[in-house]
Symmetry: C2
Subunit: 390 residues, 2 copies
């Protein structure tokens, strides 16, 4: 029995880059202590008050179908939050609640791309970007960036690859680099999107994790709201990764198409999770700062620990829970370095090659372990890197 060709297209034949992850898991299962900086997930659990609000909603009877684009009050709250952060008038009609940010990303590409179209995304990229675009039947095409330019996508590079493309997905604050796109970069992206008539899909799930400067949504740039779709989520801002609550903010025709798609794919998001999300959003910016704070602190600890290294250049980052390290001075690939580091120091980091070609010779660190462990890991990582200098 033959399955669809689609499946081979989704995986695209590339390495999934998870060798380090699986090796780490096996080592830990064997009882070894591994300092693990691979996974972009909080080291805290969802706040008890949010879980209690969820339970109260469920016990109150919100356990039936909640089909459609989401509960009106949650859509209102998301719209208000987006409007407050961007200044762009946003109605609940622009908002569709999805089972997680990944679903928001998939749904958006599904309604914007036909099979054979091209969807652009930047290199380096979050692991599921190409597979998500390919799952729609479209071609996933990379816009390369460079380490020297802090992996910021350039207008000319987008235009050079826009032939046949209908979408461009960007991510700021960025996973895997920790870079927050500045206004000039976003204006260049906007010009390219207009010139090539692209939908701009802006993944902003790290929008509460900005350590320097400000998060700018491209939807707030003049003339861009009509062609920009913003992907959001409670995962990173409220430490609710497992609750799978995301959203799309989009022009109304796109929001309506995503609602129709949802009816035929997911049939809505549990109402009690929507109520928990509404409760969490109403906790306000102080709560969001509290969730983000450990990553700000750890980033400073990490920067200090790496400051004396000759082998490591830290990509100038200002957001998200990641640091990207340029270790090309060692002459090693990211893969070789990450495996050697795991062997010698029992420290697990993701090789840059896992995130694309542009980040080869780099490492991604997720700052998702405690402060003291971060200091220990980064101090030893720096010494290890310096010992590998030719």
């Amino acid at each position: 029995m033959r399955i669809a060709n689609r499946n081979g297209h989704i995986t695209g034949g590339g390495s999934d880059g998870w060798e380090i992850y699986y090796r780490t898991r096996d080592m830990q299962a064997a009882g070894e202590r591994v300092l693990t900086l691979t996974i972009g997930e909080h080291d805290i659990r969802t706040d008890r008050a949010i879980l209690d609000a969820m339970h109260a909603s469920a016990v109150a009877g919100n356990t039936g179908y909640a089909f459609g684009p989401g509960k009106p009050e949650l859509r209102e709250a998301i719209a208000a939050r987006v409007q407050a952060r961007t200044g762009v008038p946003t109605s609940w009609r622009n908002v569709v609640v999805t089972p997680g940010g990944q679903s928001a990303m998939f749904s958006t590409h599904m309604v914007l791309l036909d099979a054979g179209d091209v969807g652009l995304h930047c290199d380096p990229f979050y692991a599921t970007y190409p597979g998500t675009i390919r799952a729609t039947g479209a071609e996933a095409r990379r816009v390369p960036t460079t380490s020297d330019q802090s992996f910021l996508p350039q207008e000319a590079d987008i235009l050079a690859r826009a032939d046949g493309a209908r979408t461009l997905m960007i991510n700021t604050p960025n996973n895997p680099t920790g870079v927050v796109y500045d206004r000039a970069t976003l204006e260049g992206i906007g010009r390219a999107a207009v010139a090539a008539d692209l939908w701009l899909i802006s993944d902003e799930v790290y929008d509460t994790q900005v350590w320097q400067g400000e998060h700018i949504s491209p939807r707030a740039l003049p003339g861009m709201a009509e062609r920009t779709i913003v992907l959001g989520s409670m995962s990173k801002s409220h430490a609710m990764t497992g609750s799978r609550l995301g959203w799309v903010v989009a022009p109304e025709p796109v929001a309506e198409a995503i609602t129709t798609l949802a009816t035929n794919t997911t049939y809505g998001v549990p109402a009690y999770i929507q109520d928990a999300a509404l409760f969490a959003l109403n906790l306000g910016p102080d709560f969001e700062r509290q969730i983000a704070e450990p990553f700000r602190r750890r980033r400073e600890i990490a920067m200090r620990a790496l400051a004396g290294s000759n082998a490591i250049r830290v990509i100038p980052s200002s957001g998200a829970m990641y640091l990207m390290l340029d270790i090309r001075a060692t002459g090693m690939s990211g893969n070789a370095f990450a495996n050697a580091l795991l062997d010698a120091e029992k420290i697990a980091v993701m090789p840059g090659e896992s995130f694309g070609d542009a980040s080869a010779g780099h490492l991604r660190l997720a700052l998702t372990i405690g402060d003291e462990l971060i200091e220990e890991a980064l101090t030893r990582l720096a010494a290890f890197a310096d010992s590998r200098m030719p």
Copy 2:
């Protein structure tokens, strides 16, 4: 800005059949009492013990990512349940947990159909069937059935429409008809699937609601396990519609493809919901019977109330929470009858036309209101029908 052609393809230009539903909602919003038999959802909420188990899991820290095909212990429990009910050896490797039965249906078609392929489903059909197939880029093609044959799909009718088809989706016990497919029917379907080399997708979400005879899964027929995918869900069996917990039972290559697709579409199901589902499954068959019992009782009440009607022929049903009534003796269409009934009697039922061409001139009743209301509604409905006899 143009959205994808896919969107028009999904809706397919047909009526969505929800006019009665929306009219009812408006009448109720205006304060009118409407006896509502339109929605296939329990009139009870999810059991408190299940919700408490969910909360306990969440509070214990199961709030992080739960990507992949589902928690091993839940996959084991689903596999054991399926094996116990069908006798077919079933491993956890055959099981993928999905965010609801609808997601199981979509994911299965996605991994089996490429754009341009044909996916077959029976007419009449549950509302999302064609849109789900079309969302994959495939053509949704109907296998007609007839009222006189209790809407049971016939081998020859499948074969006559199998050109270019790669899948056939069936549903037993059936929504909208309440019919439970007998062994001879399933054997005919199986022969057609083998002859036309079709994957058989068997939607069995009503498998605990069987009032006469037995539920037979086509996966249990000789030689069929290798080409059959079973779709299951906690929604109907455990009154957990809103929790969006479904599954696929499939040959391993299909299960693996669905897992890869999930990584790029939904990124897993909340772990605390998976734990609640495991708790609920462990409540055993007595609990499932308790959830199903009201529909058995109401079906008997309804049959008695309809027994004296000259205008109504009840399709011989033996399962699910539905009755289908043949009202062609009135000379009215299902649409005309349902609208007239809503106007005259404030009773809302779904016209058969909402579920396809084969059920034109019929009505679907969801037995999802209390016993006394069922008796009142069906008695008045029968009198109304008889008054409309030419």
